[in-house]
Assembly symmetry: C2
Homo-oligomer: 174 residues x 2
Amino acid sequence: MTLFARYGYAAVSMRQIAGEVGVQAGALYNYTADKQSLLFDLLKGHMVDLRTALDAQPNSASPQDRLEAFTRFHIRFHLERPQAVFISYMELRNLTPENFRVIEDLRRSYEGVLEAILKTGRDAGEFHVADTKVTALAIIAMLTGVNTWYRSGGRLSLAEVEAIYWDMVRKAVT
Amino acid sequence: MTLFARYGYAAVSMRQIAGEVGVQAGALYNYTADKQSLLFDLLKGHMVDLRTALDAQPNSASPQDRLEAFTRFHIRFHLERPQAVFISYMELRNLTPENFRVIEDLRRSYEGVLEAILKTGRDAGEFHVADTKVTALAIIAMLTGVNTWYRSGGRLSLAEVEAIYWDMVRKAVT
DNA sequence: GCTTGTTCTGAACAAACGTTCAGTTAACCT
DNA sequence: AGGTTAACTGAACGTTTGTTCAGAACAAGC
């Protein structure tokens, strides 16, 4: 994961990976069918973790509370695994078509959770969003963007970042 | 550019590029010093175009109008060059350190324009943003996200997309 | 027709690629 | 101590990589 995140899937050789774990290249094939599976298992594991962690969140009552919970969860979860997140966005095109479809479905299901929150809030008259699908994607893109600049120990704490983003999300949909 | 966007810099060979333009691999070296320069020139050209096009925009008076102009400009410009945008986000790590620094500086200067707008608006009491730097990055991430899903001829027109995003940006900062 | 300068080919280079596999080494159970 | 299984090495395979370069092809001017 570290090597893929640093140099990219295509630029990392099986010999490099083997060297990093103190083994010869051939030994890797006792654990993985091929290089492609290495990438796929990484991405699938990440997406499943994401969905599992989201489902483990306590269910809030109001749409507003649920949206806040989602926002804070997304930021926290993504900031805890910058490498997996990075790879999940950058290496999609290096998946075989069938593997790609699996990851894409997982992601769409995650996006669907946010969209459902927005729909509920709009139907309840609490949110004012022109298009729940587009708004969900826009919010996720905004939140995931934190990963490109946040460094722990930097100017802002995680709590401050969460507060800033939640403030923007809340205002954007109400 | 097409090949880099489709398969990624590392996965595209000079022979593939040569084949695409109907020439042998060796002939490419009459036009480029090496493969790295090919990528760098592409990214630098894109960033310079971006900055040039932004500066060519008519200057609006109020912070709100300037923010709207920026929002619409960013969406339009990025949707017009999906390949260059994609490469500019994905292939940064394949630049040599000194080339990377050049591109990063150009991008930071672009982000600075948006931050300046936010600062002006906040000082004028029109915007309420907790952190202009973070807000600028959040807005840009949100807007650039359009490229991941928008397809011309799809459900929404460019004008509709601009309107939806501008509505979110406006509400998020006021 | 000859010269000049530019552009291209086609082969060559050493290095690196993913993957396989016979054979060695290590670990564990009886 | 012996036997079984799992893990690893090290070499090999056929390709492919970025880049170089001598020579062929080509166009332009006289």
